[in-house]
Symmetry: D3
Subunit: 287 residues, 6 copies
């Protein structure tokens, strides 16, 4: 019986967190890398699905946003299509755009929807093209169909969360002429979180969080405010690769999102640990 | 980190149960004895409150029903009032009725409301007299103001659960002339569960459940249907004191309640164990 | 037939008042003294119940607030508990607090609910402890559990009036630690009236109203504004005992209540006379 | 003060009636004669308006239906138009139909709307032609545009009562070809009462009610059921002129209307007397 | 098949207009002259009815406002009543007012309701007297019961459009004493359009629109803003008879109506041409 | 001006059809062939999008269902994947299933959503996997992941049409184990039409309709009932390739769909012609 009582105690420990986050909208960016890892480990995506469904069941409104860099690259490879680059950024021509759509909507989006729906009819796949969700403009003609978000029309997301569904959003957007573009998923997650007035924006990454000094693994930051984070970036202490994600965090909390989190998606049930136990994980950014 | 991962796993284990019971109405009879024990142990009532609030937060509609025999007796004693009995049943004259109201509404009901509301503005005390909730008729003139439920008007309970409150019901009822009566709490719990179309009716008692042979502590019944339970009562294998509660269980499942449970209220977090872990406790009665 | 025609004419006379007050929320403070009188006269509480039900039926939202000083004293006496005083104010220790709860919730509240519900399933007893209705802070440590209202969460009252029920509120409140306190009923009535945005706040007292000179019974004031009333208090013309009630009236109209009334609760159907006939009674306070 | 107390007592006497009729839909046929009398007495229509507004304010849903025989005749006379008759029934040719519309919609309907609206923005004039309210078929080609109701589409009436308006219905109807017809107002009142599922249908007439023997003024019937009334008609004891109205009463209660009333509209405040005092007036017909 | 394809192309051409005007409220002033013409041509009023119903079916909220000058004059003539004038304006004494009501409500309003309802149960006749729609004050005692709008209470119109009905409003109004007045229909249309926050106000007239120089038939203005229109009036280039209508247009767009239109009501399907084809007709006034 | 008047007349001709179909749910199967044609002609898919948007704007609820046979084949070809067949039916192994998802969700679904959304934020892409829309069972193990619909959960479609969106459904379904399957689009369209209680089910094909004798091009059937159609199939007069579509029509009208239509999708604006002009096209099947 000992074990049973421990279980009950742990459930009871979650009580104040469940109460606090009841009704909260949480936008979770799930990276293509994480799915890729999932393939290897075979259960990581399933653990993620469990976390998201549990969040839904205890009254939160999770919204999943995903990219799919590795899957796009792999599919281009199968088509024998060579990537081109301008200033280190991939060019998205019309043919690449077709492959992007197939990879995001035909593969990544579906794996996520499928994993979640093994627990019930919760997930609905959404493209940023649907019902005017994401309007974009071309970032740079040399990059082709790569867009920056200019407007978010979150009605379709609201309708889904109101009906207790879990939207799973692929980060495509449409410009004023109706041309579809690929959009950076980190930026989309922040823009949707702002447009929804979300309480939380979560980036599931493959690092434990933000380090005060990224060469010193003991310097992980647990909480930091936007100003402090900005100073850290200015000081050059942050690894290059994290900067776009960090910028999105700063933008989001400036735009009204209450908390942004960078969590280690490789940790099983990272979302549950962060939200429902005293053992918070990763870095939390406050306004 | 080990411990944290275990915690997350236990939360995830609760997922299918939370999903299954989402939206379910659960009527929980909490006995005066349990409160009395609580006084001794000082935390039993608080553990109960935690369980009920957690049920509310994960989307269930708990409704608490309570009596207060020990508290009534104690208060009569303080007033120097001697109990009278007819055929072993306590007579409730006008003066006793006044004491019953004070004990139930001024003491027991308030202790429960207070313990629950330490977690947030959830609980609302309700008397069976409010808004026509319980209509009764006098059982036997020799017993005085002791009533049997003839009608339940569950609107006030529905309004409260719809607004995500937790009703805490004291088992008083009113006859057609407007005279208040004391009512047996086990019977009220069953009647309210039926009127609400509840999924579950739970009796928190001070025994581990129903025994196939009450002198044999290894014969605890985990699941039984109404017919089997009826046969058991007929066979004389059930202890005298459990018979009213068992009758209420049989009535409730006959009246549309999907499951009735007899749990050991002395076990910490008995409700969480029964509802959210694989380690079910006590006896479950099915139609 | 003559008499019948007169009746019809009187009903028709009520027409403009019913039209004017349709949908208006009216908070009525009913004093423990009034109930005490009721006991003597046996029908005063019934006449009050008729008035409140009629107000409800013609579309007003009456909310009853009550204290119970005499009942608390009587119950302390029965328990052989001696009152203690600090600067003339009664000390409420833990034992007294238990008695207060029994007197207010087990006696006074129930008598009011019961009298109203003889006309239909209208009344619902509410404690200021329910669903976070009244938050208080301790007034003075020497007085024990005597609280001043710091916040009102009127959701439970709104839900009840929206469902055409009549809330009957006992004036207990809870501090941030969850400890219940006794609260002055006049102040609670004013605070609830403000929180509800009530059109009217009515004090049923055992005097005919406010006198310009309380030693001169011909100087009854029919209408006065808050400034005038304040000046009157400053001038010393008001009897000591009326000052807290008068202060509550001034506060309430300052806080948005449109009219505060001091009526003579000893007059049969005082509420009907004031609200539905040309013969207004008592004193009306305007902003 | 005596008088004030009497007033309050009379208001309180209305309490059980107001409670009983709360939410009830009452269709009231107001005859053209009554308006004609009103012209003479100058206040009868105003007293009627007061009654209807008071019914509205205490939560009933009054619906007024009117004809206008005398007004039509008077207007024909002004136009120098001679009435024609077939078997004693007036022929309604196209020109007469134009006059009917002017008399009903331009005169009678407006007088009623105007009298009611002196008490607030309650009344809305409605023609049976509006939004498909009354569909009719021609009764007899020789009579011209005289119709019998074949279908009622009560949506427009429901919308108005739901918005707490008082519909005032002129009894015109449209056949399948779109041709407007004049319709008997007694029959329309019964048909609308049935279609609305009304609790009551009231005919305001210029007689005190139905007599068991119409030559014996002491034989007024206070209550009678449909079967008894039918027998009375068969027996020939009823005056010829009352038979259509009596037939409508029998039809209405057969069609689900709970009570039909024949009241003396010449009595001031006849509706208030009947509905809100112990002194019921006229004859009530039950199923 | 050629013809069918052309039809489909024309329907498809309407697509952007239907999309643009979906949900838009459009107040249409239909003049008594137009009805008079309709009598002659026999189908003009039917074509108008088709247009209004089609607007309703594609999701617009049309509201029809009408006067009836010619019909009033004709009816006065039949009654042998001589019109009187003060400064060229007709005096409306009590007898004239009775005739106005009969002409507007008994004739014009009914012809419009009837024509529309041949397509389904859409139209509901409304008088400005209903439910407080139009409050007026007397313009000039010498003119008798001629009123200027002082307040609009558009609830009854909103309720009808929300229920997908088409209100047909006769331009009568009531002063504070309850006295009905005749009101200029052009002014009423503008006042109702403002009160409803209408997107469009349309005057159907018997001229092709506004001319830059009314003696030059080639100078028709297609679009003009309020300032330009005001300048045109000041310059004296506008025909005297158009000035009140033009003033109403200027007032309406100043009061928040997005567009005012003066169309030639003699053109078949003028409303469809203006709203659903590239071939706009008449003059459009912008803020 | 002539042309303008003709346009108006054609719009007016649509009036009775728009009225009749207002609020009707119409499920339209759009075949992969049609898109393929569209590629060639470049505008066919755009004309289809215009039709669907116009149907939406005039108050119908269009739901688009699509397959994508040609696109799947083309994509398999690009991947160098050879189709296998069993009894003439294509085997869908795991790798093929991946390609099916990419072709349907990454290509066909997006082309339709994109074409519709050029007219406004209407279309939302939906997979039968979303929120439990389509539950299937494996048809024949030898065919691999080819499913037959066993249950439809139309909530997500209802939510979208209620919010005035146009769902575009790709015909994938999930079995009880969570495995995705490809499903025949004709059958899905019929199943969804039944589950929605649709008024109409439309198959856009590349034939003019059903022929009484398919070798005789003059024998096109305009209307036929289910029994007649069944007899025609039995008689062998129907071309082999049409039989599955015809079976779906018969099933759908048996299952409550009011009308099933087989239209020639190659005709520009075929939907507008069929629904909004007198020139119906294709074959209509009635119960």
């Amino acid at each position: 019986m000992i074990e049973a009582l421990d279980k009950a105690a742990i459930l009871a420990e979650a009580l104040p967190y469940i109460r606090e986050f009841s009704g909260a909208t949480v936008v979770i960016k799930f990276g293509g890398n994480a799915i890729h890892d999932a393939k290897g480990q075979d259960t990581a995506i399933d653990l993620f699905a469990e976390d998201v469904v549990l969040m839904r069941l205890v009254g939160m409104n999770p919204v999943v946003v995903h990219g799919g860099g590795p899957q796009i690259s792999a599919l281009m490879d199968r088509f024998g299509k060579k990537p081109e680059f301008v200033d280190g950024l991939r060019v998205t021509d019309a043919e690449t755009m077709e492959i992007v759509r197939m990879a995001l909507l035909g593969q990544v989006n579906r794996e996520l929807v499928s994993a979640i729906n093994r627990h019930g009819p919760f997930a609905v796949g959404v493209s940023g093209e649907d019902a005017g969700l994401l309007t974009v403009q071309t970032r740079d003609p040399r990059l082709g169909f790569v867009g920056d978000v200019t407007a978010v029309r979150p009605d379709v997301i609201h309708d889904l969360t109101r009906n207790e569904c879990i939207p799973v959003v692929a980060t495509l957007g449409v410009d004023d002429s109706g041309q579809v573009h690929n959009v950076n998923a980190d930026a989309v997650a922040a823009a949707i979180a702002e447009a929804l007035g979300a309480e939380k924006l979560v980036y599931l990454t493959n690092v434990p969080g933000i380090y005060r000094d990224f060469s010193d693994k003991t310097s992980l930051i647990s909480e930091i405010d936007a100003a402090g984070l900005d100073a850290l970036v200015q000081s050059g202490a942050v690894s290059e690769g994290m900067i776009p994600k960090i910028r999105s965090c700063i933008d989001a909390v400036a735009g009204g999102v209450r908390r942004a989190h960078i969590l280690d998606g490789r940790l099983p049930h990272a979302l549950l640990l962060e939200f429902f136990t005293r053992s918070g994980v990763g870095t939390m950014v406050m306004p």
